[in-house]
C-alpha cells in the first residue's frame, strides 16, 4: 500500500471520505442494473405513499418510488462529477504547463488570463454555455471543468515551476529527455499530490453544481434521473409533503461532504509539512 494511502486510511476523515465515495460509486453501479422499482414508473394509486414497505422512502406525486429515483440520481451525479473531473484535469494541466514551461511572454500572458478566469463563477460559465447550446448535463461538466481547471492551473503552476528547477529534472534534460518526456516522467508525478486534492474538491463542486443547475433548468432534463430535478419536482408539494424533499438533499450533502473530507485528508496525507504540524499539535480527526 503506498504511504499516502496508509495515512489516508489512518485518519477518521480520510476513512469516512474514502468509504463513502466508494459506497456512492457502488450504488451508482448497482442502479444501472437494479433499483427496487423502475424510477420512472408512475402509479397514481400509490401516490404519496408514506415511507415503509415496499416503498422504503415513500413515493412522490405520481407514485414514483423515491428510493429508486435517488439511486438512479447517483448515476447522473457520478457521471457529471467524473466528467467534470476529467475536463478540469485536462484544462488545468494544459494551462499550468503553458504557464510554467513555455517562453516567458506566453507564461505571463497565461498567468494573467488564469487570474482573470478565476473570477468567473462556475454558474456564470454555465449560463454562458447554456444560453447558446441549451441546458444539458454537458453544460455542468464543461462549466465546472473549466472553472476548476483554472483553479487547478493556478495551484499547480508554481509547483510545476519549482519542480522544474530541481536537480532531477535538470539531470533528465542533460540525459537528453525531450521537454514532453520530462513533463510526463518527472514533472507530472511530482505535482500529482497537489493536483489530486484539487480534483477531489472540484468533484464536490460538480455535485453541487449539477443539483443547482438542474434545478434552474440548465442541467439534467426533466426525464433524466437527477437529485436536482427531484428536488425541484418535490418542491412544489413542500407545504403538503415537506419530508419528501429530505432524501435527495441528504444524498447531495453526504456526497459533497465525503468528497470534501477526502480532499482535506488527501491534502494532509500528501503534504508532509502539514502532516508534521498536525501530528505535533494533536488536531482532532475531523478538521475543517
Amino acid at each position: 500500500m503506498p504511504n499516502w494511502l496508509r495515512v489516508l486510511w489512518g485518519g477518521a476523515t480520510g476513512r469516512f471520505g474514502l468509504i463513502t465515495v466508494l459506497v456512492i460509486a457502488l450504488v451508482a453501479l448497482i442502479s444501472v442494473f437494479w433499483t427496487p422499482f423502475n424510477p420512472f414508473d408512475a402509479n397514481v394509486r400509490d401516490r404519496w405513499a408514506a415511507p415503509g414497505w415496499p416503498h422504503l422512502l415513500g413515493t412522490d406525486n405520481t407514485g414514483r418510488d423515491i428510493l429508486s429515483l435517488v439511486m438512479a440520481g447517483t448515476r447522473t451525479t457520478v457521471f457529471v462529477s467524473v466528467g467534470a473531473g476529467i475536463v478540469a484535469t485536462v484544462v488545468g494541466i494544459a494551462l499550468a504547463a503553458l504557464g510554467a514551461l513555455t517562453a516567458r511572454w506566453i507564461r505571463e500572458t497565461v498567468a494573467v488570463l488564469v487570474d482573470i478566469l478565476i473570477a468567473f463563477p462556475v454558474l456564470i460559465i454555465a449560463m454562458m454555455i447554456s444560453s447558446v447550446w441549451g441546458g444539458s448535463l454537458w453544460v455542468v461538466i464543461w462549466a465546472v471543468g473549466i472553472g476548476f481547471g483554472v483553479n487547478i492551473a493556478r495551484v499547480t503552476r508554481p509547483e510545476l515551476r519549482r519542480v522544474q528547477q530541481s536537480d532531477f529534472v535538470l539531470a533528465g534534460r542533460a540525459a537528453g529527455l525531450t521537454p514532453a518526456q520530462n513533463l510526463l516522467r518527472h514533472l507530472l508525478p511530482n505535482v500529482a499530490p497537489v493536483f489530486i486534492v484539487q480534483l477531489s474538491w472540484s468533484m464536490a463542486v460538480a455535485v453541487l453544481a449539477e443539483a443547482g443547475l438542474s434545478y434552474l433548468g440548465f442541467g439534467a432534463s426533466v426525464v433524466e434521473p437527477s437529485w436536482g430535478i427531484l428536488l425541484s419536482d418535490l418542491q412544489r408539494y413542500i407545504s403538503i409533503h415537506p419530508l419528501s424533499v429530505i432524501w435527495p438533499g441528504l444524498a447531495i450533502t453526504i456526497t459533497v461532504l465525503a468528497l470534501n473530507l477526502l480532499g482535506d485528508a488527501l491534502r494532509e496525507a500528501t503534504d508532509p509539512t502539514l502532516r508534521h504540524r498536525s501530528a505535533e499539535t494533536h488536531t482532532p480527526a475531523v478538521v475543517a
Binding site: 444560453s131 434552474l216 428536488l231 475543517a288
Partner: protein
C-alpha cells in the same frame, strides 16, 4: 503605493476587457447563426434575414463588439431583443431586491463565521470545538436550494412565522413586508456561506496562534487565549477580508438559485429567465455586469489588503 494601485488597476481593466471579449465570443460567435437561434428552427429564411438585419448581426463582429462596449462604457447596456426594454433600467429595478438580499446574507454570514470561527479555534481539542467545526464542515456541504427548502418547511410551513415565497408587489413601498420576504432567503445563503467562511476564520486564527508575537505575549503573562484575542485576531482580520471578497462571488451565485426558490424578482431570476428565452443581448450585458462586480470586489479587497498590511506594503 501609487505604483501598486496602478498596476492592480491595469489588471482590473484588462480583466474587464478579457471578460467582455469572452462573453461576447461565447454568446455571439460560437452559436453560429444567432438570428436563427433567436427566430427558432421553424422560422423561414426571410424572417431570419429580416431579424439579422434588424439586430445588426450582419455587420462585422468587431463593429458589433465595439458598439456594445461603447454603449456599456457610456452607461447604455442595450435593449432587450424580445421586449425592447432598456436592460440597464431593468437591472436597476431588480437590484432593489438582489442588493439588499446580498448584503443581508453577507451580514448573517459574518455574524455566524467570525465569532464561531474564533471560538472553534480557541476551543480546539475540546468536544465543543470539534462539534463546531464538524457542524460547519457538514453545513458547508449542504446545497443552498435544499437549505432553503428546509428553512421554508420549518419557518413557513410548520411555524408560519415568515412568508415562504414572493415579494410584495409594490416592492419597498411596504418596507416591513419587503424585509420579511428577504429574511428566509438571506438566512439560507448566510448560513451556508457562513459555514464556509467559518472554516477560513478558524484556520486563520489557528495560524495566528502559532505566530511569534502571540507566543511572546503569552510568555509575558497573558493567557494563551487572551494573547490570541488581543494580538493574534487583529492580524487575522485581514485575511478574513480577503476571504470575504471571495465569498461575494458565492453570494452572487447563491442569490441566483435562491431567488428562483423564493420567487423573488431579482437579478438572478431575471438572468435565468433571459437565458431560457435566449435574449442573448440582454444576457450578454447582464453577465458582464455580474463578472464586473466580482472583479471590482476583488480589486477593492486587494487594495485594502495591501494598504492595511505593512508587510505587503514593504514588499512592493
Amino acid at each position: 503605493m501609487i505604483r501598486y494601485t496602478l498596476t492592480r488597476g491595469v489588471l482590473l481593466i484588462a480583466g474587464l476587457l478579457v471578460s467582455s471579449v469572452l462573453i461576447f465570443l461565447t454568446l455571439r460567435v460560437f452559436p453560429g447563426d444567432v438570428a436563427q437561434l433567436i427566430a427558432g428552427t421553424q422560422a423561414s429564411p426571410a424572417t431570419v434575414e429580416a431579424l439579422r438585419e434588424a439586430l445588426g448581426f450582419n455587420r462585422p463582429l468587431v463593429v458589433q463588439y465595439g458598439e456594445w462596449i461603447g454603449g456599456v462604457l457610456s452607461g447604455d447596456l442595450g435593449t432587450s431583443q424580445l421586449s425592447g426594454a432598456s436592460v440597464g433600467a431593468e437591472l436597476a429595478e431588480k437590484a432593489q431586491v438582489t442588493v439588499p438580499l446580498g448584503l443581508m446574507a453577507l451580514v448573517i454570514a459574518m455574524l455566524i463565521a467570525v465569532p464561531l470561527g474564533i471560538l472553534s479555534a480557541l476551543w480546539r481539542g475540546r468536544a465543543s470545538g470539534t462539534a463546531l467545526s464538524v457542524t460547519a464542515q457538514a453545513l458547508a456541504a449542504v446545497p443552498v436550494i435544499w437549505a432553503g427548502m428546509m428553512l421554508i418547511v420549518v419557518f413557513a410551513v410548520w411555524l408560519g412565522w415568515l412568508p415562504a415565497q414572493g415579494f410584495p408587489r409594490g416592492g419597498w413601498d411596504h418596507p416591513w413586508q419587503a424585509f420579511r420576504a428577504l429574511i428566509l432567503p438571506a438566512l439560507t445563503i448566510g448560513i451556508v456561506e457562513g459555514a464556509m467562511l467559518l472554516r477560513f476564520v478558524r484556520s486563520a486564527t489557528l495560524q495566528a496562534r502559532g505566530q511569534d508575537f502571540v507566543r511572546t505575549a503569552a510568555a509575558k503573562g497573558l493567557s494563551r487565549n487572551r494573547a490570541l484575542v488581543q494580538h493574534g485576531i487583529p492580524a487575522v482580520g485581514l485575511s478574513i477580508v480577503t476571504v470575504l471578497g471571495l465569498q461575494v462571488a458565492g453570494i452572487i451565485v447563491g442569490s441566483v438559485v435562491i431567488e428562483q426558490l423564493f420567487t423573488l424578482p431579482g437579478i438572478g431570476r431575471m438572468l435565468v429567465a433571459d437565458v431560457g428565452t435566449r435574449d442573448l443581448i440582454k444576457v450578454q450585458s447582464e453577465l458582464l455586469v455580474l463578472t464586473g462586480l466580482v472583479l471590482v470586489v476583488g480589486f477593492v479587497v486587494d487594495l485594502i489588503h495591501h494598504f492595511v498590511d505593512p508587510r505587503q506594503r514593504e514588499a512592493a
